[in-house]
């Protein structure tokens, strides 16, 4: 099991190889990438930043939860920080398990918990030159302002 916050391009094949095992019947890879269009706006890139030490500890905690919930320690997660171009990967989650259903369940658990809990923020750059911090709770929570 390994989780890391990194500042270099991610390598999906390396993470897949890292979790592979002859005990496994299935491996899954989740790759989050920078999308050209978000909420109707043309994106040109994204800055990812984090509260480093907490992001690392929260990532590790989530991986431990996945391990005990789904019964595999063959988990590798890397989250990238810095300025990413369109199509670049911001996160890769690799899971390998004896059983395919558990591998897929663990994959989904990991990305959903990471999205909710890991202190990472993104500022989208738009084609019109503007920038904005992405707030997934905006429009969900009433009166979100401090």
């Amino acid at each position: 099991m390994r989780t890391a916050i990194v500042d270099h391009p991610l390598d999906p094949a390396a993470l897949l190889a890292e979790v592979a095992s002859t005990e496994s019947g299935a491996s899954t890879l989740f790759v989050g990438t920078v999308r050209r269009v978000n909420e109707g706006k043309l994106v040109s890139g994204i800055d990812y930043s984090a509260y480093g030490p907490m992001a690392e500890s929260e990532l590790a905690t989530i991986a431990n939860e996945a391990a005990s919930r789904f019964g595999t320690t063959r988990i590798a997660v890397e989250h990238r920080l810095g300025t990413l171009a369109l199509g670049e990967a911001s996160i890769i989650i690799a899971v390998s398990h004896e059983r395919r259903a558990a591998a897929m369940d663990a994959q989904r658990f990991l990305i959903e918990e990471i999205k909710k809990r890991v202190p990472v923020w993104k500022r989208e750059h738009y084609a019109d030159g503007s920038r904005e911090w992405v707030d997934p709770t905006a429009g969900v929570v009433a009166g979100g302002a401090a």
């Binding site: 930043s49 999205k115 890991v118 990472v120 500022r123 911090w133 979100g144």
Partner: protein
């Protein structure tokens, strides 16, 4: 006592990477939060959570001198 609070994303843009606030000697996360909110004035900033020593903390959790306290605006990783 004085507590230094780390800020991120839009909060950091508005108030800088950290602010130091004064709270009672026996203080809670809520006390710290209120002191930081006072610094934000009327600015529209997204509602944050608070972390103490790298873990999310409830409003009633204690804050002690030397704790690493951070305001966590809505996260958007992945």
């Amino acid at each position: 006592m004085e507590i230094s609070v780390l800020l991120f994303a839009s909060w950091s843009d508005a108030l800088g990477p950290s602010v130091t606030v004064r709270v009672p000697a026996v203080a809670t996360v809520r006390d710290v939060m209120e002191a930081v909110l006072a610094r934000a004035g009327g600015r529209a900033l997204p509602k944050p959570l608070v972390a103490v020593n790298h873990r999310y903390a409830k409003p009633e959790s204690p804050v002690r001198a030397g704790d690493e306290v951070a305001l966590i605006p809505p996260v958007a990783g992945g």
